[in-house]
């Protein structure tokens, strides 16, 4: 299962809810305003670091760059481009968008 989150962790509880349900063997990708959760010093940093022990965490590069946050990504979070996002969707049998 690929989990897709697109909301800022300050704006909605989508990421918290997602992480409470994401099991091992799955993967998480942060896109749009959710990329802030992948940056150092943000409110979700410790939750992301914990999640990294259980599943791979990705962040969409073009969304990080648009927001000027490309230099602040938490170690262990992998940055992918749109092609990489498509590959992740194809690799997983199902995906779920936590809007």
């Amino acid at each position: 299962m690929l989990h897709i989150v697109n909301k800022s962790p300050y704006e909605r509880n989508s990421l918290t809810s997602c992480l409470a349900h994401a099991g091992k063997g799955g993967a998480l990708i942060l896109i749009e305003d959710a990329v802030y959760a992948a940056t150092r010093g943000n409110v979700a940093e410790s939750a992301i670091r914990r999640a990294l022990g259980d599943l791979p965490v990705y962040a969409l590069g073009p969304d990080l760059e648009a927001r000027g946050m490309q230099g602040s990504v938490i170690d262990g979070v992998k940055v992918v481009d749109f092609g990489g996002f498509v590959e992740l969707v194809a690799e997983h049998r199902t995906n779920q968008s936590w809007l």
Binding site: Y10, E11, T39, A66, G68, G71
Partner: protein, 135 residues
């Protein structure tokens, strides 16, 4: 329609009433249209010679982060507009310290000179306004 135009004409001759406008920005850029729309309204009100100030709190502080590159998203990078505000006599940009700290953002990461204020000081500034518009 004609009446409206007449009234506008009269106002131009009369000494204009200057009101204190504050635009409160609380949303991150690009994920929603709020930040860009807010900026458009700021420019419009500045054109009417009003006393305009901008407040950035909550996720709104992300609007001012340096180094925004939107080529990959194929959307307009509107961050340079904040630097152009000075040319419209919009020079009062207030950023809430608590919002920066909660996001791990330092003042030197911001793309334009701002006044960093506490939440309490921000509340005081809000009290002084004639009109507050939130985005």
């Amino acid at each position: 329609m004609t009446q409206t135009s007449d009234r506008i004409g009269e106002d131009e001759d009369a000494p204009g009433v200057v009101k204190k406008f504050m635009f409160v920005n609380r949303k991150a850029p690009y994920g929603t249209i709020y930040a860009l729309e807010g900026l458009e309204v700021v420019l419009i009100s500045a054109a009417f010679d009003q006393d305009v100030s901008l407040a950035f709190l909550d996720d709104g502080v992300y609007q001012l982060v340096k180094g925004q590159q939107t080529k990959g998203l194929e959307v307009k990078n509107f961050s340079p507009t904040y630097r152009a505000l000075e040319g419209y006599d919009v020079e009062k940009l207030y950023v809430e310290r608590e919002a920066l700290e909660a996001r791990g953002i330092r003042e030197d990461q911001l793309l334009v000179p701002v006044q960093v204020v506490s939440a309490a000081e921000m509340a005081e500034l809000m009290e002084q306004q004639d009109l507050i518009v939130g985005f």
